[in-house]
């Protein structure tokens, strides 16, 4: 075999041996999630109880998302109860119910929520939670909040990493307006 032939033969052998690992690593890179993809941000848990209280009268009543049949479910002292021994209207919202509500909100759209949080709450209407509440996406429950009203402020500030305690409290205590 000539020198040229031996060189060509060596190149082919090296190529044949190195190709599978290269192809495999390339494919793994394409298909498998990277560590960065899996690191989703979640909103602050501290103070969420007040956000949940704000959601209760507008979203979590027994005739809306306080129904066991709904795919997005909220629990609360005045709505659907988590423990089988509790009934609506008796007792306050429990720690387990607040925890369930937190995760109910977080897992609606975890990836988009993560992006909104990364952007410090900018453009919150990327989240269906905000669009449904504002009525900008079809919502059987209609429009429940508008920008700058108490419930909207409570939610959007929470997405920015703040707790608008006064707004959350006001949203939690909505009541019938007095006769004009």
């Amino acid at each position: 075999m000539s020198v040229r032939g031996r060189t060509l033969w060596c190149v082919l052998v090296v190529a044949a041996l190195s190709a599978p690992p290269l192809i495999l690593s390339a494919c793994l890179g394409e298909i498998g999630p990277t560590k960065a993809d899996l690191e989703l941000r979640v909103p602050m848990r501290d103070g969420f109880d007040r956000v949940a209280d704000a959601l209760q009268p507008s979203c979590g009543t027994l005739d809306c998302h306080g129904q066991a049949q709904r795919n997005w479910r909220l629990f609360g002292g005045r709505g659907l109860r988590l423990a089988s021994t509790n009934t609506p209207g008796e007792g306050k919202t429990t720690a387990e119910e607040y925890e369930a509500n937190y995760w109910a909100v977080v897992v609606i759209e975890p990836e988009i929520l993560s992006q909104v949080l990364a952007d410090k709450g900018r453009d919150p209407e990327r989240l269906i939670l905000i669009r449904k509440g504002r009525g900008t996406t079809r919502h059987k429950g209609g429009t429940l909040m508008r920008p700058n009203d108490p419930l909207d402020t409570c939610l959007t500030e929470w997405l920015k990493g703040n707790l608008a305690a006064d707004s959350c409290l006001a949203a939690a205590k909505i009541t019938a307006s007095p006769v004009p």
């Binding site: 609506p88 307006s177 007095p178």
Partner: protein, 209 residues
Amino acid sequence: MSMSMSMSMSMSMNGSIRSFAYTWARLRVACGLCLPLLGACGQPAFLEDPLHKAQVAALGPENPAVKIGPLHRPGQACAVCHRVDGLATPYVAAGTVYRDPMSTVGVGDAEVVLADLAGNRFKTKTNCVGNFYVKTSEFRPVVPFWVTVQLGEFPYEMGSPIHREASCSACHSDPAAPDAAGHVFVTDDVAAIASVPVRACGAADEVAR
């Protein structure tokens, strides 16, 4: 208008009205033939939503001793039939008020007040079996709205607003459970139960508004 009347009237009318009268008469005959096919809440069987049909079936039959009207089906989900796209008069809110949480003794003359987010109010009273209803033609609340019940010295205030549900019993069903608040009552004070007035039904109770 009877079929013969519509036929005779059509003689003196112009073509389009005559055609309408004839079609109307034919429709009435056809509807009469279709009556056996009517299903839940008087809706044609072929138009029925199977889920709605199941809800109606769950209500069970009418009590033959009670005429269909304001006194019928106390404690049941009124808006299963009394809904906007149903054949019965649609209600904004309707239900039954009981004397106490343990029994199902309905109380009459309890004042029921609906108060909405915009400050609108509507008042009505329960009849002798405890039933009340508010028709959509009487009150269009700006949701959510709140309901209070007052019978003499006994008040009942809902802690939660109502957004969509017109039937009280949809949420206030028995027995009380994690997803059911139990029936609406005027007092749970055992000492006071005997003093809650309960009255017999009169002819006026059977008359719908």
